[in-house]
């Protein structure tokens, strides 16, 4: 399942990140890497952007970027 398929208030664990090194580095510095737990806080009206919480930091990303994060929903 992709991060972009999740809904608001869902928890998930990151399985795999499939994107170029640059973007991966940015994900890493926000604590998004294999095994990290995330929580979907908000999704914008048009489903263009998604706000997730990782290690107490809120991060906004576009659905295209969220597409490159594979997750397993939890709880």
């Amino acid at each position: 399942m992709k991060l972009s398929d999740l809904n608001i208030d869902q928890n998930a664990v990151v399985e795999k990140i499939t994107c170029n090194e640059e973007l991966k580095q940015r994900f890493y510095s926000f604590g998004i890497f294999k095994g990290a737990t995330l929580f979907v806080e908000n999704i914008s009206f048009s489903r263009n952007t998604i706000e997730i919480n990782v290690e107490e930091t809120s991060i906004a990303l576009r659905m295209e970027e969220a597409n490159s994060i594979e997750v397993t929903p939890k709880g």
Binding site: R26, S29, G31, N42, E51, E55, A60, E65
Partner: protein, 679 residues
Amino acid sequence: MTPMKIVLAGQPNVGKSSLINAMSNSRLKVGNFSGVTVEKTQICFDHHCHAIEMIDLPGTYSINGFSTEEKVAKNYLLDKDYDVIINVIDATHLTRNLLLTLELLNLNKKMVIALNMYDEAKKEGIHIDVEQIEALTGIPTVAVSATTKEGIDELLDIIHTYYDSETRIPLNINFSDTIEEELYHITKFFEAKNFEYKDYTSREMAIKVLFENEKFYAKIHDKPIFAQLQPILLIASEKIYTYYETENINDIQTLEFHSIAHGIKSETVKRDDAKLPKQFTKKIDNILINKYLGVPIFLFFMWGLFQLTFELGAIPMDYIDAGFAWLGEVVGSTIAHEELRSLIVDGIIAGVGAVVLFLPNIIILYIGIALLETTGYMSRVAFLLDGFFHKFGLHGKSFIPLVTGFGCSVPAYMATRTLKNEKDRLITLFIIGFMSCGAKLPVYVLFIGAFFSQEVAGNVLFYIYIAGALLGLVMAKALRIFVFKGEDEPFVMEMPKYRLPTMKLIYMIVSQKAWSYLKKAGTFILAASILIWFASNYPKVDSDNLSVQLENSYLGQIGKASVPFFEPLGFDWKLSVALETGLAAKEVVVATLGILYNVGEEVTEDDDRLLAELKKQIPFATAISFIVFVMIYLPCFAASMVFAKEAGGYKYLGYLFIFTTTVAWIMSFIAYNITLALT
């Protein structure tokens, strides 16, 4: 004595700039949105009589970050000479901040950790064992708060002592057992060989080779020991690759850093579960970035801001206006020489007065924008609007420079550096001018005042701004389709916690802006005013008729020469001249009109008189057409220079001139003819 050079490095939104402010009481802009501190800033002050030079680097999440400003920070940290790094850390986001700390440690420079927002952490029920952080990282650590000034003196003392000390504290971070084992072998090898490089310890060199530091490799590649080092390294790497099931050393380092950061956090941070920190921000976000309410609320804020600018600003404007009229009269009565009096009263006082008049409007607008920036609302807006902006070929982050453009194009152009992608940045740069800047406001206010009733004035102003913004978006799409084709920048950004800025902070931001506006009025615009006064009074003609004098002046000649170009838009030579002088600065448009329409008056330019004159002499359709042209055409001289710098060359300024003039002409032509047809 050479000053000690201190570099502030840290992630965005950790309060680096406010920390500098607290340390030096300097005037620096502080923002709660990634990328407010765009340029490196240098300030000097004395601490125990030692001059300190501070360099405030742009916030960077990682040394290997991808945005232009992250690269500025990286290049500085790697290549420049400095004495001590202050790593500013947000105490409420320890793990994430420590990742950068670990990267910075690998630079092998003297470093001090400033644990900022310590007061906020305490309020959120986060207890941090500062001594333990110091023990685990080996780095002098001070808990500080830029807001309460707690720990600031201690921080300065520690920096000073460390700067004076001869030796640097060696890097001593514990990696996982697997890594440590290999580090042990390589360290032993360097020790046995007695190999030395700079002030690095054997362990530091071992870490560098194990994590494939390219720069260090380049240094030791030609050394004889390299041949013997290679087999040891090969075995070490092999073991690590097998253990981590990947050959990507960057991924391995990231995982290591993450577990180290987690380790440090779990050993140093205790949290009261009773106080849940996220609640406040979460509650506000439930409303402000609500699916349905978010965008309307934002538009309401913007609308309210423009209403305030116009309505509230009108009150002090009357006083300023009267003040300058009085000044002109008083000064004028003391000067006997007619031409000199004309220069001082009609040229200088009238010109500068017309500029100062709009200071209240500008201050109110800037307070609004400063609030948007410092509270953290800006990034919410980017989240809300990215879907929308992306459709127009822009980035959600483009919103920040664009909104800043409503204040002044100069900082707006500079704020585009947050955009990593060259094309995204250029498109944003090109359309910033469509967001009417504060200096265009005087022109709008003047024309709205002359041609619309007081009741609808606020609304008309709002429509002008919205129309400009929408046109800008359409142009962005056009540029994206026809000129800048290519891939989009990824949108991954932090949403900082909401923070209430202090009055002092807002005061500092706004007063800085207001001063720079006034300085512009005092220099550039004053010079332009005198030039215009001269051009409109000379060469002298033998006629008592003042309008004849003006028509034959240099200014009149220039205006007349360009009339064929402006005629289809309904402009006479006076309006044409005003537009041309507006290239120097938009405020000058008003000053020019003041001079052109108030000729023959003994007294200085009077707002009501100018309004009446405009109303009498300019047809309604021409006024509309003029507003449209001002809305679109080239920004002021200063902004144009910044644009050229940010876009990467003067040729872009040439493109901008052609682009804006063409669009302005076409749109004004349309507006003129539609208005003519309707009235």
